[in-house]
């Protein structure tokens, strides 16, 4: 993965194509693994998950901060996908009554309590990306991997003040979108 990050950094598009599934698989596997091992009631933040994936996948001796920023950029997208895929399969299991035991109580559990439907959020975020790709990236990084303002700024390559502005507006916009029920 370290080599893929470097290759991608040098403009090798094929490296990104191989990087995405590798990161997705690792995040997915780790989510499952944690759930088998941990006691009921334990909560694992996605942030922790992404950091662990980074430590496992990237050779620390060869990586520099740029690789780290790249990794988080990719991981945010993949974490979003892992959570959305899971929310979908959970929904399908409910409808189909497939008898598959669903043990992954991810975002859906945490966000349902807060009245936030992850699938709705995902769709709204896709609409936002069409209007304002940078703002959607900020949400992806901050919400799906829990990066702070400064880290997010580093990954995207913009100032922390801009991240803050984008975040405030994205939140206000998403709130409006999600509450209007469209």
């Amino acid at each position: 993965v370290t080599d893929l990050l470097k290759g991608w950094g040098k403009g090798d598009a094929a490296a990104l194509d191989r990087l995405l599934p590798a990161v997705y698989d690792e995040l997915h596997r780790q989510a499952q693994r944690y759930l088998r091992r941990e006691r009921p009631g334990h909560t694992l933040q996605t942030t922790e998950l992404v950091h662990e994936a980074y430590l496992r996948l990237v050779d620390q001796r060869q990586a520099d901060w740029r690789n780290r920023a790249q990794f988080f950029g990719v991981a945010a997208q993949m974490m979003r996908r892992v959570l959305i895929d899971h929310a979908r399969s959970k929904q399908a299991a409910k409808r189909g009554g497939s008898g598959i035991q669903v043990t992954l109580e991810d975002a859906t559990a945490a966000s349902e309590e807060r009245g936030l439907d992850l699938l709705d959020l995902d769709q709204a975020l896709t609409r936002l990306a069409a209007l304002d790709p940078q703002q959607a990236r900020v949400v992806e990084l901050r919400y799906f991997t829990g990066l702070g303002i400064d880290e997010t700024a580093q990954v995207i390559g913009i100032s922390p003040a801009t991240v803050k502005r984008e975040w405030v507006m994205a939140r206000a916009w998403l709130r409006r979108e999600l509450s209007s029920g469209t």
Binding site: Y34, G41, L49, D106, A107, A109, A110, A172, S179
Partner: protein, 66 residues
């Protein structure tokens, strides 16, 4: 909404947030002119802004009783 209209809403929203709530209405009078759509867009964003805790917590993965 077009990306251009979006940029306009974004600018006015940012500028309005810099002002104390009491001054926002008159600021919007000036900034939006007769653009009713722009003003409505900005106002609806401002309405949810202050109390907004949406997305404050990242999604968590937890374990249900197996």
């Amino acid at each position: 909404m077009t990306p251009e209209a979006w940029q306009r809403v974004k600018e006015v929203f940012d500028a309005a947030r810099q002002r104390p709530p009491g001054e926002r209405a008159s600021f919007l009078d000036t900034a939006c002119g007769g653009d009713v759509g722009l003003r409505a867009g900005v106002e609806s964003l401002l309405a949810g802004d202050e109390t907004d805790s949406l997305l404050d917590t990242t999604p968590a993965t937890g374990v249900s009783g197996v």
